[in-house]
Amino acid sequence: MIDAILAPWPWYTSGAVIAGIMILLLFFGKSFGFSANLRTMCSMAGVGNKVSFFKFDWKKQTWNLLFLVGAVIGGFIANNYLSDGSTVAISENTIRDLNAIGISAPTEVQPTEIFSWEFAKTPKGILFLVLGGFLVGFGARYAGGCTSGHAISGISDLQIPSIIAVVGFFIGGLLMTFVFLPILL
């Protein structure tokens, strides 16, 4: 039992737990959507006076900010207390293809070529990470939700807009993976 918790979790356990969180939030009278927090944080910074999109009662989103705080704590706990140190077991094909664009096989959760201060301190690294984040933030709000709001909550409710959004996620993801990443890295 303990070994099974410390090892990476299989997809079916993970999917079930994620669905459980979505259902739990529904019973709490809330709706699962993580990227709304980014809008809330902009509003808290006081930009609502200049841009009306951020003028709303952000205190009603306190529950979601607490969920975010929990997510940070959860990442810490999982790494420090619930890990057996196994590396990410991605497929051989992925390892080979990533090698071809300068990313070596996993030794930890993230590729050291991107997620190390050596890269993150260079102008190229800063630009890469900030631009990537910018696209996620801009796109999530434009599409009215991210993976949790559209792919999980929206499609569970069989919403057509969410299906269109997920098609978009894949158009963008495939373009980045096969066209832009080989140039950017």
Binding site: W11, S14, A19, F34, V109, I114, S116, T147
Partner: protein, 137 residues
């Protein structure tokens, strides 16, 4: 407990995202290259269980813990909004390997440079707010 339960739910979320490796750039690349079922398995399992739960809640008009009806607000129909917005999101998702939740889970995990991605995401959200009325919706 009124607010603590949201922190606890978030902790479970952070743990499951880490233990499922869904916070890993490698796993997102593997997904977009269609080289493993792992990420698809996670998402499909969550959707199937989620869809059954939503149908049951609707059919039996189940109420939340405060006794209020659980309401599902249909999203406004549009194609350009979801397609263009979704595509921009997908570009960033494949680039950073992190959607909004995992950015913060990764930060808690110990990847401090995630703050650069989070800062970018906040700036992107802000710029959407600025440009919103000029964009096709």
């Amino acid at each position: 407990m009124k607010l603590l339960k949201f922190i606890l739910a978030g902790i479970v979320f952070g743990i499951v995202m880490t233990k499922s490796e869904a916070i890993s750039w490698f796993r997102i690349q593997e997904m977009f290259r269609f080289q493993s079922f792992h990420m698809y398995g996670i998402i499909i399992t969550a959707i199937v269980i989620g869809a059954i739960a939503v149908q049951l809640i609707k059919r039996f008009k189940i109420r939340d813990i405060n006794g209020n009806p659980i309401i599902f607000n249909p999203k406004d129909m549009s194609i350009p909004r979801y397609l263009i917005g979704g595509t921009i999101f997908g570009l960033g998702w494949a680039m950073t390997g992190a959607c909004p939740g995992p950015m913060f889970v990764n930060f808690g995990y110990g990847y401090g440079m995630m703050l650069l991605i989070i800062l970018g995401a906040l700036f992107g959200t802000f710029m959407y707010g600025v440009l919103r009325t000029k964009l096709p919706h």
